[in-house]
Symmetry: none
Subunit: 215 residues, 2 copies
Amino acid sequence: MKIIIADDHAVVRSGFMHILNFQADMEVVATAADGLEAYELVAKHRPDILLMDLSMPPGESGLIATGKIKEDFPETKVVILTMYDDEEYLFHVLKNGASGYVLKNSPDEELLSAIRTVYDGGTYIHPSMATSLVRQFVKKDFDEAETDPYKMLSRREIEVLPLVAKGYGNKEIAEMLYISVKTVEAHKSKIMEKLNLKSRPELVEYALRKKFLNF
Amino acid sequence: MKIIIADDHAVVRSGFMHILNFQADMEVVATAADGLEAYELVAKHRPDILLMDLSMPPGESGLIATGKIKEDFPETKVVILTMYDDEEYLFHVLKNGASGYVLKNSPDEELLSAIRTVYDGGTYIHPSMATSLVRQFVKKDFDEAETDPYKMLSRREIEVLPLVAKGYGNKEIAEMLYISVKTVEAHKSKIMEKLNLKSRPELVEYALRKKFLNF
DNA sequence: GACGGATATAGGGAAAACCCTAATTGGTAC
DNA sequence: GTACCAATTAGGGTTTTCCCTATATCCGTC
């Protein structure tokens, strides 16, 4: 099978190429540094499999590219390789047409197995994430708006989130916003519920990721 | 030369191993998923080179591990492989004793060249960062004592600071570091005293400014 | 030996966070 | 009218943090 690898890190691309070219049934025909380049190479080489990183800053992301490639080159199957085990990413990627979702923190054998499963017409998802997928499938239809904190959270929640993340106490936040401590607690709890965050460190990380912490 | 690879992503480790084992003069003798494991493997194998990622959450970071390894195994040379091209990271890493700093967004040849340079007793820095280093070197005597957390804080304090800033509770940090809650409280208090920080938000801001939160 | 720093830990009380539950009001959509 | 969400607030119990004080050991320096 013909494979293209897309990852923003050159030595990482090279490493994957070495792994895959060791397999008798796999041949890496090209490598790309971002989604745009991946699209162009898919158009040129028409591979069986595109193995692509999800996040390739500053270039086009694997998510965007997946959608375009599935639309224009449906015979090429996309396997996403990523560090993100957050189910939100998984859902987005699958909705955009990817056939596989593999974590970078997986052994080679799993990556190879995923590629072969997808090549044979199946869909591969890391087992630890399959449960999340089923649960989410049962819920109401997933909506694009749900990835954007500005659409998921209320205005007040958007005010409270960075303050909590910056380490201000509930009492301090209450004084800043002219509300009661109980209200702050309630907002924080609701934020974590809406964003499915289980701990304060997760909240801080989320705030950092979403660039909420500009001092 | 004997090499150990440390990176939190299994397939990435494997990829690097493939690249390096292709070289007649290189042999990968072990791989580690975090700083702690890297330390143990260095103790066991006494490699010539440790090729290590800078950020390996949730395990011990490459920065912390570099300091420990340089202290206890000075004959092993550390090459940091990272996505971070920010000079702040570079300086911290070099101060902690690393001999090489290579960006993941580099071609194989550069990685191999860096390893060989370091093995031969040199120091390797990506050319794009060398200018920054010289500029900062000129400034450094003037500013260093005042602003350098690595001079102001003890090793343990440097471990505790980012954890506090990330929102982990004292109890959680105590469990992570195998110390008592009281010790965590003491370290945090000492950190704030030394850095003249008056509140938790100031501590978080400091940690962000000094780029402690991606470690 | 004296001193200081690093690391570790304790006691104890007050304050705060966490967590669960519950309620009210206003606005909007059906 | 009903249901839902946002904003606000409460009660109450448990856990944790904060803050102050104190101690011990080890190591390095003078």
